[in-house]
Amino acid sequence: MSAGTPRSLPSSGQKPIQDICHPLSAEECALSRSPDVLNPCSAGERDLILPNGTPVDTSSPASSSSLLNRLQLDDDLDGETRDLFVTVDDPKKHVSTMETYITYRVCTKTTRTEFDLPEYSVRRRYQDFDWLRNKLEESQPTHLIPPLPEKFVMKGVVDRFSEEFVETRRKALDKFLKRVADHPVLSFNEHFNAFLSAKDLNKRQGLALLTKMGESVKYVTGGYKLRARPVEFAAMGDYLDVFTQKLGTIDRIAQRIIKEQSEFLMELREYGPVYSSWSSFEEDLHDPLEGVSGCVSNCSSALEELTEDMSEDFLPVLREYVLYIESMKNVLKKRDQVQAEYETKLEAVVFREDKKTPVPSDVEKCQDRVECFNADLKADWDRWQNNKRQDFRQLLTGMADKNIQYYEKCLAAWESLIPLLQDKQDAKGETN
């Protein structure tokens, strides 16, 4: 255990800090060790500074990760240990002379002391969510920020105010906030706090802008060239490349299935009524034929439900993950940049004339950045993998469930028809 003075966590029910390894202990730093001796850094002692000059938000307990990973603040937790609950619901349409838009109610329940009140209820529109995400990306560049549903929709193709579209969007926004709320670092972000609590976000946005004036928003890429991505991160990059490809394929397959099912549905809608018109000129066969017609109609409705569900619940989640992966690849690139900067600066210094003068603090800070970034990213990666596993387990079992329900509805319809079809026969048998 190195000497650090981490602060205890504000919430109850979690492991006391002393029982946990310091996040930036020796093992973590081994990865990008430079030849020269540098002290193992500790979160509490140094000011971590972003390449753009702003101090990293360290008011949260350890901006890195493994600490919190071991605390397991993810969905496996029972409700007791979670102390922040967020939901998005109640979409409403607002019409003004300038524009028409939808707002959603964002409800928060929390015991965290970072919040003034235990409960909040505010209304937010998509713009606000977008603002939040941008702010999170800026202020927490070493972390994986969950994705938002797509911003732009083709005006002619999709009805932005249809129930289905709004509901799909609401679910995605809800997922977004929940993912942020469950993140051990992001959930303590001040912009997130403002988003959840501020009555008038616009004012807050303006205020935030004022105080951060002078800071450049974009990451300075600096044009440093990374020689080689470390194995670990290269593996992440490769995984993301293949995974995104497979997701694309699955999306295409799902769409194709929906299309084929829709066309099948169209035929069924023509098929059923033919039995009905046949029954109109039959006597004995009237009831059986009507029965078949009704059955086909029931199956058609069940199929329509299945297709709609898949469109609304399945496809959006796939697309969300594709967006997630895109932003993750960008974070990997940023990490490469940070490492490249450090290595370049280090090289310049290694070959310095005077070996006696200490390594410039500038380089040391770079090393810190690299190590923190790596640690954050690794921790986020693990948590992302875990969440991904759960999300896809849920998504695919959901798909299986929907199909099972469809077949069960059809089965019930056809089974109830059998006695009707056999009915007259038994009656006839008796009279004969």
Partner: protein
Amino acid sequence: VERTSLLKMMEISVAEAEKRTGKNAVNMQETYTVYLIETRPVDAASEGTNPVPDSLWRRYSEFELLRNYLLVTYPFSVVPPLPEKRAEFVWHKLSADNMDPDFVERRRVGLENFLLRVASHPDLSSDKIFYSFLTEENGWKETVFETGFQAKADSRLKALNATFRVKNPDKRFAEMKHYGDELQSVISQLLRVRARAADRLYGVYKVHGNYGRVFSEWSAIEKEMGDGLQSAGHHMDAYAASVDDILEEEEHYADQLKEYLFYADALRAVCRKHELTQYELEMAAQDLTSKKQQREELATGTIRTFSLKGMTSKLFGQETPEQREAKVKMLETQIEEGEELVKERNTECEEFVKSAWVDIERFKEQKDHDLREALISYAIMQISMCKKGIQVWNNAKECFSKM
């Protein structure tokens, strides 16, 4: 299936199909299919000895000849139809090729069905030509032609194809004909839409097979999720493969509908033949009436009907009493003959109506029974398909939950 005296005697089946090549009428090489008709005495089967059945080969054109013979010889019967000559109402996977083994197999079943239908018909089953069709391989064709049915067939065909109008149509037959029209129309529509739906269903199932491949590829980059994904993929493959059997079974239902599509035609043929009989009766009666009127005119000297002869004789002088006498005598003979003809035709008509109506009632009952059975087996097919679907998706769900 009615236990006619024929069926009490023998078992009939169309056991096999084979390809043959030979020279046709214009001396060109052709390939055709022959079907093996097997007959076995009923007693032998029940005794358990199982002797070799009698058998002979026939081709489709011979079946057609038999049916045409029956149509002409039993015009009041709703003659069972043959399976379709060419594949119709096909969905894309199904071959429209007459030589395709699946088509041949389905035709074999259809031909067997035809023979059993004829064999269970109260009138048709006792026909000698039918019996020799089943039992005499050589010379059967000649025997059929010797009956002279061809000549009758030709004249009937001519008459049927001509347009004629019946003055007092029999309401029942008119209704039956109308029913036949509607049945034919609705079954055609049903078969068409069903074929399109089958195409779509095929597509839905087969695309799921793609999940199998992509899950397999995806599982390669996963650790804990890998196994679940891989096995789920196998279930998706099984799901995709299951549609072939499902649609093959449905084809059987389509064949049952087709039989009644063609039966509708047979029913309409009976109604049409009745119309012809009625028309011929009306023509004879009309002819008789006009002849009687002519006689009356000649007798009384009054012209009620216009005739050119009458006019010319008025204009150019009367005919001699001898001439008149001859005319009257001729008319008397014609009237006598005419009355005989009307009597004949009347009896014919009455008998036709009686026999036809008996067979139509029999047909109605058979149709109601068969179609009800067909609907039941269709429902059972659908139930089986749903159960299979539930099972596959439950299997997949289990795999997913283990991801």
